[in-house]
Symmetry: C2
Subunit: 329 residues, 2 copies
């Protein structure tokens, strides 16, 4: 949405601050430092974006009805310093990660976000598909530019997992769990997934794109058969629908918070927070990666976040990539 | 240049095999399995590409004069299995790395090469410029898809350095040296530079773009002032001009060879070969990286290829990224 929508965002912000009362054209005009005609033009744009705005010649403008879901709406109530301050919003797109990667390549700054109503080629980890129907869920990708070497990008996997789990927890009002390394589960079912992609030289990261898909208002009967028994949504878990813009803002706040902790204090506090969501320790796990699979008992993660699996031989394997299925005890 | 130019490449290959004799339209037509009219159309295309072709109604076609420099010419005498088999050639481009990265994102396969006659935004390491005037040098980028995690991409830096040094050595007829990690020098002056960029997830590389700039026929007086005293070219060092297509083919062969050695046998043989070109051991070095610089005596590299620098305190620092200047002893 970038800078050109800055006026729209500010007008919505001011009208929201009016809490249902009218905001005069004059006060919008002086707050923004633009003419009343310019204000009127921006109001017209906002209406096209789906905002319901009542205009009274004597009293001014006020928001009514339900707010639409778009970048202006997300940004107009945002409390972050950089994550989501610049939002590119698309009704339909191939994949938010593909777009954010392009934006990163063309130099867009840290915190720039892409949001889509629907994805035609939603990307999951290791080349999988992320189911992305329109109008129900949140599909967003964020550009981060950590000043680190590529081997540390794996740390961000955990930063994002903690941030997403925190945001999900606030909405479902129960503690989610994380599946190593970064799926967010509620009652054993997947609610959010994360895909990190990176552009780098061998010794320095140019940028990372953190893509997050969160099932928000999708219902179980709407999931395709292959994930019907393993996926869930915020609406399912808390029994009522949730606002997507509200969730996006909460997620962006969590990401900014945990990302700053990582940059300031390193990986240790991230890993500690992540362990608070991790419940596979002591359970049987099966890990498949590339062309092999191992089965054993999970004995936690090491200081780098690698998964430790004790085989029946007693040997402990250190797993740095792969997919995990968790059994009972 | 892709598949659509396959016929052009094959026609040039067959005419080259004729060694100056005419190749009949009929034999071209039957070798390629296309009509004689189609052959004639491809000949027309080749003429537009700068190939000088004599046509005789009774005898057929033959190549005369100097060969142009383009993707068809490079590919028509190539002896590799995959490096450079698919060439995208541009008379002028922003940067071959930018284009190759886009091609990698859109799924082009391993070995795909981009060549440009000139670059407007030639990229050097750490955001620097690579001087890229038209018509004199080789600017090429190759897509590789090694099945490794991002931290191993640094190994490819050495694979490319060895391959480039080997190709340069064949042309200047003396042994080049490498400046850590991957500049190729002849008589202490820079002749080729390498920039690796990578697209990955935290635990697996999607692809690496290896960009190589080689000064071939540029003369010292043509270098801009800031590199006049530190840069050189193949023509300067061997006293006569060299064929750019010929050099590109030699480079692609070396890259394929050393890349296969790396995939089959790992990093050890690569590092050993690299050490054969490295001459800074025992010399004073100054390494700058990000916002600090250290000075000391180089005591080689470790098993990961990190530079070892002995400070005056006696402590040995391990350097994984940065720029090196070498002093006397």
């Amino acid at each position: 949405m970038p800078v050109k929508e800055a006026a729209e965002i500010e007008i919505i912000r001011l009208m929201k601050a009016g809490r249902g009362a009218y905001t005069s054209g004059q006060s919008l005009s002086s707050s923004l430092g633009i003419s009343r005609t310019a204000v009127w033009k921006h109001i017209k744009t906002l209406k096209k974006m789906g905002f319901q705005i009542e205009a009274s010649p004597s009293k001014g403008y006020r928001l009514t009805g339900e707010l639409p879901f778009n970048g202006v709406e997300v940004a107009s109530s945002l409390s972050t310093k950089f994550v989501g301050k610049n939002i590119f919003f698309y009704p339909r797109i191939d994949s938010t990660n593909i777009k954010a990667f392009e934006l990163g390549r063309s130099g867009e700054g840290e915190g720039t976000a892409v949001i889509a109503e629907a994805q035609d080629k939603g990307k999951g980890r290791v080349g999988r598909v992320w189911e992305s129907p329109a109008g129900l869920n949140l599909y967003t990708s964020i550009i981060l530019r950590p000043p680190v070497a590529p081997q540390f990008a794996h740390n961000l996997t955990f930063v994002l997992a903690v941030a997403a789990a925190e945001a999900v927890g606030l909405f479902v009002k129960q503690r989610p769990t994380v599946k190593w390394p970064n799926d967010v589960l509620v009652n054993g079912r997947k609610l959010a997934g994360i895909l990190l992609e990176m552009d780098s030289e061998p010794d320095r990261v140019h940028f990372v794109v953190a893509g997050i898909g969160v099932n928000i208002n999708i219902r179980r009967e709407m999931f395709p058969p292959y994930i019907k028994n393993t996926a869930t949504s915020i609406a399912e878990e808390r029994g009522e629908e949730a606002g997507r813009a509200e969730f996006a803002r909460s997620l962006y706040s969590s990401i900014e918070l945990w990302y700053k902790i990582y940059l300031d204090k390193g990986f240790l506090p991230i890993l500690e927070a992540w362990k608070g969501y991790f419940d596979a320790e002591g359970k049987e796990v099966r890990v498949s990666s590339f062309n092999r699979a191992i089965t054993g008992v999970c004995c936690g993660v090491d200081a780098d976040g690698a998964l430790l699996v004790k085989l029946s031989s007693g040997k402990v394997e250190r797993v740095v990539s792969g997919d995990v299925e968790t059994g009972k005890t």
